[in-house]
Amino acid sequence: MLTFTLRRINLLLITIFLLTLVSFSLNFLFPGDPLVNLSGRINPTPEQLLILSEQYQHNANFFIQYWTYLQHIFKGELGVSMASRLPINSEIINLLPATIELSMTALIIAMCIGIPIGFIAAINHKKITDNIILTIAMLGYSVPVFWLALVAILVFSIQLNWLPSAGQISLLYEIKHVTGIQFIDILLSDSEYKWQAFQNASSHIILPACVVALAPGTLFIRLARTAMLDVLETGYIRAAKAKGLSFTQIIYRHAIRNALINVIRHVGLQFANLMTLAMVTEVIFNWPGIGRWLIESIYQRDYTAIQAGLLVLSSFIFIVHILTDFIYAALNPLARDSKHGT
């Protein structure tokens, strides 16, 4: 486990190094003065420019510039936003939790619904149930997410009037910003309408989370189905059959556990996909998250915000990726070390 941990941490460090290198070079690739892009101070006076070039070591060579940039990042200084003139790190701290909330809820929905359906499809392999599930899965990951979001709003918010169509919570409830994750904030607050606020917040998250969850959920169906089919062909299942276990016993005791491990392995990769969908969905549902902020920064040509947002978002995706790798390794001894049998 130690070598495995060291290897993963090594990978994480290399990746984050590459990501900072990319976001640093973005400052030079974006139109305009690199120094202005880096700091976000538009139209600086000559004096300010001098101070800035002192701060970012702009006249030194490339490596020292990059090193100073890294030091700024570790101090948490990501510059100020060109559009709102607020420091970017405080904006990100405000916005990132909402995105985490949405994407995690969607991930949970996708896994809880997708994986069991995939298992059902695998158990009924080459029967009508399998075909129906596969057809639905195919449709599910072919649907463009923005269109799905619009249709969902039209049906569930406008025509049926079941769920609200935009925002994170109704403006009537005043919830103090503590962690940024709405549900935890509500539970922490001492408002007397806590329970109503909680209900309101959950009715707001259902629609966007389901929209985000559809495509990853259908991919989980396929992954779970393939994993289960692979497991059902292995020797230990045949051995269990030979022992005289009934089919349900085989599935519940042996097959599900082993198939689940192989699905968990792919969660990290799916999460990256899910985050992209969440970005687009945030725009449509007016969700106050980092994806919507990033896309708005592109409209406003807020280059400082774009490079900082990119850095934070992709690091977040990668950290989740590494975390799922750890969970996978903790569950599956084979992944840690090839010594544990073959």
């Binding site: 290399i14 973005l26 449709l139 463009p144 923005f146 619009l150 592109i298 990668f318």
Partner: protein, 297 residues
């Protein structure tokens, strides 16, 4: 299946022909393939086939619902939008923008990616390790996010979107080609031709490419369904094709304000995107199935 042998000579179908043989057997896949060909032809011939121009305004016929509606007009089969432009013509033109351009994008990135991939399969050592790590990082960033970043650098517009998607798709082709070529290189028949004195380039072009082409085609279909969704998503976000162009994603965002009065301006382009992505995915599924079957036999 036993075959009647009329002729003495033994025929050995090439891997591609073999896959086609398995591919043809599935009816659903063939339906997808038919739709794919239909969209392809539509993309080429849409300027000749469309009843109206995609920019022509019919100010007497604003927001006419589709012909099956009570208020519909049969001369505008799928209705008109807020400027009285015929939806059917716009959707047909959109086929050449969204579907046709995604096809072109995939071909370009396929050529570049396969080229880089086969060269990198032949290199070893520190260069190859660096490339592997770099590819891992790039592949872990979702394609749409990467495309959005590249568009942010290049600036919005349809041309820049296409370049962005080309750049995004290249690493996937590099990855798949590299692995496939490496796998093939360790096989005996490659060793045989190497012993015959063939150089690496000859082995690549005569022995390896005919054997890995189905894998590349399968990756191309996956890439195309991603490309269609990305072009449409960027168009919808206002970063890709400008609103007057009949690109499906841009059409969708154009209809957004009138969504509740004229829902067909939103659901028709969405269905068009869905249809083309499903057709492409079906072809990819069929390819995967054919590959699996020919491997098993």
């Amino acid at each position: 299946m036993a075959r009647n042998r009329i002729y003495q000579e033994e025929e050995f179908p090439s891997p591609l022909v073999q896959s086609w043989h398995y591919f043809r057997q599935n009816k659903v896949v063939m339906f997808g393939f038919g739709s794919f060909v239909f969209l392809f032809l539509l993309a080429i011939f849409s300027p000749v086939l469309t009843p109206y121009s995609s920019f022509e305004n019919n100010l007497d016929h604003l927001l006419v619902p589709p012909a099956w509606d009570v208020n519909g007009d049969v001369s505008f089969l799928l209705g008109t939008d807020n400027l009285g432009r015929d939806m059917l013509s716009r959707l047909m033109h959109g086929a050449s923008l969204t579907f046709g351009l995604s096809f072109v994008v995939v071909i370009i990135s396929l050529l570049i990616g396969v080229f880089i991939g086969s060269i990198s399969a032949l290199t070893t050592g520190i260069k190859s390790i660096f490339l592997n790590h770099f590819l891992d990082v790039i592949l872990s960033i979702p394609s749409l996010l990467l495309a959005i970043i590249i568009v942010a650098i290049l600036g919005p517009g349809l041309g820049n979107t296409l370049w962005a998607i080309v750049l995004v798709l290249i690493p996937q082709f590099v990855h798949i080609t590299k692995n496939a070529v490496k796998d093939e290189f360790s096989k005996d028949y490659v060793l045989a031709s190497r012993l015959d004195g063939a150089n690496s380039f000859r082995i690549l072009s005569y022995s390896i490419f005919p054997n890995i082409i189905e894998k590349i085609i399968r990756q191309a279909t996956l890439a195309q369904s991603a490309a269609i969704l990305d072009i449409a998503a960027l168009g919808f976000l206002g970063l890709g094709a400008p609103i007057p162009l009949p690109e499906w994603g841009a059409m969708l965002s154009n209809g957004l304000d009138l969504f509740y009065i004229a829902p067909w301006t939103v659901y028709l382009p969405g269905l068009a995107i869905l249809f083309s992505v499903v057709a492409t995915n079906l072809v990819g599924e069929g390819m995967r199935h054919a590959l699996k079957q020919s491997k098993e036999n």
